[in-house]
Structure formats: C-alpha cells, structure tokens
Symmetry: C2
Subunit: 282 residues, 2 copies
C-alpha cells in the first residue's frame, strides 16, 4: 500500500512540474506579437476547463462559495472569477491570481480567499493572430469569433496589446443577507478608465450549451502589464492587439456545498439578467 | 522518461483494480434489500459523472458520436446512453454495457460500438431505502425525490425489485441523413411490456442547471436480472423496491468532434422536446 501511495505522489509532482513549465512558456507571449499567420500546435496535451459554481445562481445572490484560491491553482494557470461576497473581480495569469477591488486596487489574492464562481484552465495557445483593425469591443469580439474553428467548443483566449483605452468595472462587496441579485447592484459597480492601457485581456469563449451554467460567448477580465490595474472588461479602444486562442477539450464542473446553493431554485430562467450584467448596463 | 511512464501505468492499473473491486461490491446489492434505514458512507471517495455528448443536440438529430464503449468503461461502471444512429438503448451495470435494440433483444454491446450521448459514474450508494408503497412511475419518482438530500446535485440511482409490470422502449436505428429530430421519431419507437419484471432500474437525477445539456430530473433504463430484457423506462407497477442513491461530487463533460456537432446551432431552445421524448408520448 505504501508503494502505491508513493507512486501517486510522484505522478502528481510530475504533473505539477509540467504546469509550471507551461507557465514559464506562457510568460513569453510578448515575443509572439509579430506573428500574423495561424499556428497549430498538433502535439499539445488535451486541455480542460475547471469551473466552480453556477453563473445563474451567482447572478441571483449566491455570492458565497468554499473554493480557496490556493485550491484553484491546482486546476489551471489562467482564468477569471469572482471573490466571495463579490469583493471585486479575480483574474488568473501565469499561475498567479489577482484581485481587483472596487477602489481600483489590484493585488495578488491570498490563497485563503474563497470564490463562489470561477473558471480556469492551463493555457497553451493553438492559434496566434495579430489584429490591426480593432476599433472597439464589438469589432474585437467579431474578429475573435471569426478566428474560432467552431462555435460549439470552449476556448481560452488572451488578447495582448497597447490599447488606446480600456474601461473596466469591479463590484463593491455585499455586506448583509439577503443579498440582492447582481442586476440590482449594477448602479453600485465602480468603473475605471485607463488611457492608454498596456496589458492583457484574459478570458474565454463559452458555447451555447453552457447557457446558465456559464456566460455564453466572450467574457474578459483585464490585467495591466505592471499588474496594478484590472477588472471586468466593458469597453476597449485599440490600434493593434495579439490574440492567442487555446482550444479546450473537456469541461469539469464542481458546485458549492453551501446551504444557500442547495436551496437555490434553478427553474427561474435568468439568461437575460446574465446578458445585462455582462455588458455592465453602461 | 522511461521511469515516469512506468509510474503512470502503475497508477492506471491501480485505479482499474479499485473499480473492479467496486463492481464486485456492487453486485452484492441484492443482499441489502432488507435494510430500511438510510445509511451514510462517510468514508467514500469523491464520485464523478462522465458525460459524452449534449442532450439538446442529440434530440435534434446529432445521432453520431465517436466515443467507443471500450473507452466509456474507463469512466465508470454504471450508466445510461444511446448507441450511434439510435440503434436501441445502452445500459451499464457492474462495468458491463448492454444494448437493447428495437426487436427487444438485450445483449452485451461490443467495445467497438460508438455513442453520441452517454453518462456514467462509479456506483457506490450513500443511501439505501426500501419502498413498499410504489404504485406507478409517478409515485416512485415522488418518493425518490423526497429521499434526495438536495435538488442541486447529481445522483446515480439504482432501483431493484420484483416489479408487477415494467414498460420500456427502444428506437429503431435511423438510416439516412438528414436525420429527423427524435420528437418526430416517437411513432417509430418500439414499446415492451414485461409482467412481472425482476430486475433493476439504472439511472440518474440531474439538477436544473444541466437543462439542455442532460435530462433534468429522473431518467432510467431497465435491465432484467437475467440481462435478457431492457430499454428506456416509460412506466412501472410495483409492490416493493430497494432504492440505492449515490451522491456525485463533480461532473466531467466531453463533446463530439464531428462536423455535424460543430455546426449544430444551440440557440433554438429544445427543453420542451426533451420533456416529450423522455416521457415517450405514451
């Protein structure tokens, strides 16, 4: 029995080593900005998305989960989410998790911070493309959707560049139960304008069949190159960006074990609320 | 490098051994029929559900997938699904996969058979309960739902007993593309009546947030004790059954990589179709 346990541990360490090597490789993404043609990495390992929490429950006030940031790091090195009590926004890049709060401060989140909704993956781009004709978030999203091989798969996407402007938001933490739905808290979101903005948009494309569970379509958080600014992206203005797209092969879902989650009624149909919240009512 | 590969293999063998031991344990379920009180297994390993395919796409004619029955066995020992081209129904129990075709024949499916939609888990019951007041499928489902600790989790469920009657169905295989939606093929389903029926209902409870991806609520296939009869359960009549419920902790989803799946439009909203198909239009 002892031997078997040791073997398990060795394999876990081996996996952790691979992830760390991948993080180092990812941090070289700035070197790729001049590549214009699509590159396919046929040799890459299957990539999976790990999600904790359900978007539909989250937007209706299930703002408390049990997943620790320290635990989250075992499931990927790239992703987005929310801290417990919607105390700002979470963004993971190169294995580090950053929190952007309603004061506009961005800092590394402690491993003890918990999240009610977060999704992460290991990031290794299959496609790298430079876009020079991005005017605003609509043209950027249109161009990215044209780059996707098909619409029925999950993609992890990083967009890097010197943006002429970047508009983000972060929520103030809720304090007292019962918590209001997120759509009733939009007036209390804090909006930040960065002009210019040098950094990366971190996010995902989610297919239609994940409606309600996740946010269908494109969804990004921002992190400045100096890691001092961030938030949920509402608008961009830009001249040139590099888009890196990583195809995701499988999806792993885990849900909160809290009493509030267990009691939540999923038969309401909240897709419209999700849409308003994503676009920020601005 | 050689050493690392060997370690991986050892761990895989170790896992396979555990699953096999679990199958043997499960096959003793008949011994439990006299237990009346709920039993909690606090020491059990976290259980996960593996799903291949999306229910919404399946009911609209995506009847071809690439997942082999042989591959499926690596993900669990208990579950339900459909063969490619809806050539009957699939039921997995104690690690073996059975196919029930439209002629009413039930036999072990070959490892080379492919499926477009299937979901399986390792089965180890947390709750075992004897029900004596089951009249039909509605009273059975009501009683099972009362036994679930909460409605927002996946449960694998086995119901064993001497049923006064069991009504099942299996589809005839589709032949020519373009395939019609399943709701237009209900008139071609074959219905079987077994009176009495000695065997097990194998299936799952799926929470509301999996609407469209899977079938929300309870969903069962039947396997007779002699493994000669089966199909998708439409109705039961019974005096006494043993219900075993296994809580599932996480959910893994994989989707077909076929051209038809990639092109499928998920924005139609097919939940009503799913509901009609589950109940069999009878």
């Amino acid at each position: 029995m002892k031997i078997k346990l040791t073997l398990c541990l060795c394999v876990m360490l081996f996996s952790a080593g691979s992830l760390s090597a991948q993080s180092r490789a990812n941090s070289k993404y700035a070197q790729n900005t001049n590549r214009r043609k699509i590159r396919k990495n046929f040799m890459k390992k299957p990539a999976s998305l790990f999600q904790y929490g359900i978007a539909d429950a989250f937007v209706n006030g299930i703002y408390e989960g049990q997943l620790l940031v320290g635990e989250l790091k075992k499931h990927g090195n790239f992703g987005v989410g929310a801290p417990n009590l919607i105390d700002g926004e979470l963004t993971m890049m190169d294995g580090k998790v950053y929190q952007t709060n309603a004061k506009g401060e961005t800092f590394e989140a402690p491993d003890t911070l918990k999240s009610p909704l977060v999704f992460v993956s290991a990031f290794k781009a299959d496609t790298v493309r430079t876009l020079t004709d991005v005017v605003n978030i609509h043209t950027l999203f249109d161009r990215i959707e044209q780059l996707l091989p098909d619409k029925n798969r999950i993609y992890a996407i990083r967009i890097t560049g010197n943006f002429a402007a970047m508009k983000t938001r972060a929520f103030s933490p809720v304090i007292q139960k019962p918590f209001k739905p997120l759509s009733q808290l939009l007036d209390q979101q804090h909006v930040f304008n960065f002009e210019p903005a040098n950094g990366a948009m971190i996010g995902f494309y989610m297919p239609g069949y994940l409606s309600g569970i996740n946010i269908v379509g494109l969804h990004f958080h921002y992190l400045s190159t100096d890691f001092k600014h961030g938030g949920h992206v509402l608008e961009v203005k830009s001249a040139q960006v590099t888009v890196e797209i990583a195809e995701i092969d499988s999806y792993h879902l885990s849900v909160p074990n809290t009493l509030d989650f267990k009691k939540y009624n999923f038969n309401r149909g909240n897709s419209q609320d999700l849409n308003v919240i994503e676009k920020g009512k601005n």
